[in-house]
């Protein structure tokens, strides 16, 4: 006997919602999925009427669904938002070049303007060249730090009021676990925030998919026949994060509600007054938001340009020593040239 949709609409159920274990038909699933995101947006007051919002688009499932749903809800509930797509081209051959094609397709499908900013034009380096310099051990650090700033630069360029990212509930739960495993209290205290930044000198970032399960995003994209790019970054695999991800998936098998429970736990954590909190300021060199001077992006870039790619990795004192040694060597070389010229 076929299982009927939980909502008593009379249709046959085609899926079991991973989040609530309810059997739903396709149409009711769409309605529930969209209503939940709408509820998240309104209850957390993510946007204001008339705002311009950049959707951080990578061509992956999360950002594709986010762009689709935001457009749909914007029209359905009259948010009055101007939505634009913002993509970052890290310069990773065989990954980003292909995924950007998907973003271009999204641009056409959703009739949104698209701005692509590349690492090459912003920093003079592509990730391919960075990996060739530093190898594969710390490449994600460069990519992540540069991307964060690139999104800020893009948002400033487009004059948007906020950036919407496709981080889903699984991403946030995984980050809570990761930050506990690494003892990173600063990030632990803010990784569950649905809205970050937003002080007078920074553009806020919002996560409308904060309470949306990854599995449901995949189901939604599948049943809606949305075009997305699903290849993992060629440089991404990292053993330690893989452990946390696998752990979360195992937990989810035992109790599907665990993802929301972990987010709830993360939100309830309070830290002792003795725990050092980072203070957000502005980088003196580039003028973008940073909790240190100069910002991490500037240090990493300086390292690449000086031929000292490990400069921004590890302790600052180690980096300072590296610079001092290099300058000493340069001075010696200059001195040697001087002597030679005298002859």
């Amino acid at each position: 006997m076929p299982i009927l949709c939980k909502s008593n609409c009379g249709n046959k159920a085609v899926l079991k919602r991973p989040k609530t274990a309810d059997a739903l038909c396709k149409e009711c699933f769409f309605a529930a999925f969209e209503a939940e995101i709408h509820h998240t947006i309104t209850s957390s007051k993510l946007f204001r009427h008339g705002e311009k919002v950049a959707v951080a688009a990578s061509g992956g499932k999360d950002s594709t669904v986010l762009a689709h749903v935001l457009k749909l809800l914007n029209e359905r509930h009259n948010y009055g938002l101007e939505l634009v797509l913002l993509s970052i081209d890290e310069g990773i051959t065989g990954y980003r070049d292909d995924s950007l094609e998907t973003v271009k397709k999204n641009r056409d499908d959703y009739e949104m303007s698209l701005k692509i900013l590349s690492y090459e034009e912003l920093y003079g380096w592509t990730m391919d060249r960075i990996v060739a310099q530093i190898g594969r051990s710390n490449n994600c650090t460069f990519c992540g730090v540069f991307r964060r700033q690139a999104l800020d630069r893009g948002a400033k360029l487009l004059g948007v009021d906020s950036i919407a990212t496709g981080h889903n509930a699984d991403d946030i739960a995984e980050t809570v676990i990761m930050n506990i495993l690494r003892g990173d209290t600063a990030r632990l205290s803010r990784c569950t925030d649905i809205k970050t930044g937003g002080s007078e000198d920074s553009i806020p970032r919002v996560k409308p998919l904060k309470y949306t399960y990854e599995k449901e995003i995949v189901m939604y994209a599948h049943y809606k026949k949305l075009v997305y790019f699903s290849t993992e970054c060629v440089f991404a695999p990292n053993a330690y994060r893989g452990h946390a991800r696998a752990f979360l998936k195992d937990l989810e098998k035992v109790r599907p509600s665990v993802i929301m429970d972990i987010i709830h736990s993360g939100e309830q954590l309070r830290f002792k007054d003795t725990v050092k909190k980072p203070t957000r300021g502005i980088c003196e060199r580039c003028g973008f938001v940073s909790s240190q001077q100069p910002c991490k992006a500037c240090v990493l870039l300086e390292g690449l340009n000086r031929g000292l790619p490990k400069l921004g990795i590890g302790k600052k004192s180690k980096g300072d020593r590296m610079i001092a040694n290099q300058e000493k060597e340069m001075a010696l070389r200059d001195k040697a040239n001087l002597v030679k010229n005298d002859f």
């Binding site: 309605a31 209503a35 809570v176």
Partner: protein, 427 residues
């Protein structure tokens, strides 16, 4: 978009530098008696801990005992001549705690730990036996009796973990254990098992037992007029407890699950964890050094495999990660020590079952959970979102199916939802 390495999400070099340890064979007990102890320079440095130089038995024992004394001393938690209930659970660490406390009390006046300790064995072994108590159980009781009898300094008692509101009639001195004890346990056991069977998942059962156990400790401490209850949790236990608490949605009270002092119990009774800084390796070496006889310990559900519950899975995950990343336990444990408890504002705003501060007020996440449940039932007929939101809000506030859950925290509501006995939390 890939979120690795972004400021809020990933790291700035941290996680990618977390590479598995290079395996080095490090014998815990060397057989070479000629090595000099790094501390006292005498031969016989047979005790070797990771990150420490080899040392002799006496220096090793001084080192671990100091950790125990320092935990109590630096926090000044224990007033002079306080009454202490030592909770014994047959684990290696509780044997070590018993031995250390015994040693601390038999020192000369200057070094003696001035407190009056009573030992209590909470007998949960019987829960693992189906039907009437067996010869296996009788043997276990004899073993516990014989272990406790070696510490003459203490009065040792036994209390079965059963459904009860009062413990006065159930506590017996281990020295004079009446013959009808097993039969008495049989009588109460089935009731408690019935209670456990009301819950569908092992996760809920283990969570329930953990907090019920705390309640029983509180009742027993009150019975013996003890203001403090010592538990033998060590750093690896606390690391998995912290992660399990996070997975269960107990983030608000996780700090107290791993802190030196847990003040959630009624009547101002405090649970103290003086071994919290000890590692598993130190416990194992201490057992060898003191030639302690290990007892069989069973914890409920641990033999069902790692994927049977969130708690089993978390324990297996931490143990597994510790194999390759030796700083796992200490990092998680240190993270726990940075979390503040919310009990300062202790009032009637506590959960009736676990006694943690209620955590549902103004929680958008819980609102999203309840909204999901409601909107799934409406499906395509979803029209007025604000009405559904109001309904979800009522559920978050504890008005569920006409039941008043206003004094139950989120994680305990999960136990409630998993149970067919709707009075389970109001024991």
């Amino acid at each position: 978009m890939c979120s690795i390495g972004e400021d809020d999400f990933g790291d700035e070099g941290g996680v990618h530098s977390m590479i598995p340890d290079v395996k080095t064979s490090q014998p815990q007990l060397s057989i070479d008696n000629d090595i000099l102890c790094n501390k006292c320079k005498q031969p016989g440095a047979t005790y070797k801990l990771a990150f420490r130089e080899p040392e002799c038995k006496e220096c090793f024992l001084n080192y671990v005992r100091h950790k125990f004394r320092a935990a109590l001393g630096s926090s000044k938690v224990l007033p002079k001549n306080a009454n202490v209930l030592l909770v014994f659970d047959c684990s290696a660490q509780s044997l070590v705690l018993l031995d250390m406390l015994h040693h601390a009390q038999t020192q000369n006046t200057f070094k003696r730990l001035h407190c009056n300790a009573t030992v209590l064995y909470i007998d949960d072994y019987q829960m693992h036996i189906d039907g009437e108590c067996s010869p296996e159980y009788e043997k276990h009781l004899k073993d516990v009796q014989s272990t406790c009898s070696t510490y003459e300094h203490f009065d040792c008692y036994i209390l079965p973990l059963v459904k009860t509101d009062t413990v006065n009639d159930l506590i017996f001195n281990l020295k004079y254990l009446p013959e009808e004890y097993s039969a008495n346990v049989d009588k109460h056991k089935s009731q408690f098992k019935e209670l456990l069977n009301c819950m569908r998942s092992l996760t809920s059962k283990q969570d329930f037992i953990k907090h019920y156990r705390s309640k029983v400790i509180g009742l027993a401490a009150k019975h013996f007029q003890c203001q403090f209850a010592f538990k033998a949790d060590i750093s690896s236990d606390l690391a998995s407890d912290l992660l399990a608490a996070i997975a269960l949605g107990r983030g608000g009270s996780a700090a107290l699950d791993v802190a030196l002092v847990d003040n959630r119990l009624d009547d101002d009774i405090k649970i103290v964890r003086p071994l919290k800084d000890l590692t598993e390796e130190e416990i194992n070496l201490y057992v060898i050094a003191q030639n302690l006889k290990l007892l069989e310990q069973r914890s409920y559900g641990s033999d069902f495999g790692p994927s049977a519950s969130l708690q089993n899975l978390t324990k297996a995950f931490v143990e597994d990660l510790q194999q390759n990343y030796s700083s796992t336990v200490s990092t998680v444990f240190r993270t726990g020590s940075k979390i503040a408890s919310q009990m300062d504002e202790k009032s009637e705003l506590c959960c009736v079952f676990c006694k943690s501060v209620l955590d549902y007020k103004d929680s958008n996440t819980l609102l999203a959970i309840e909204f999901s449940r409601i909107v799934s039932e409406c499906g395509i007929k979803t029209e007025d979102i604000s009405e559904l939101s109001m309904e979800a809000h009522k559920h978050v506030e504890g008005d569920i199916e006409g039941r008043d859950l206003t004094k139950v925290c989120h994680a305990c509501r999960n136990i409630y939802a998993d149970s067919s006995n709707k009075d389970i939390l109001l024991l």
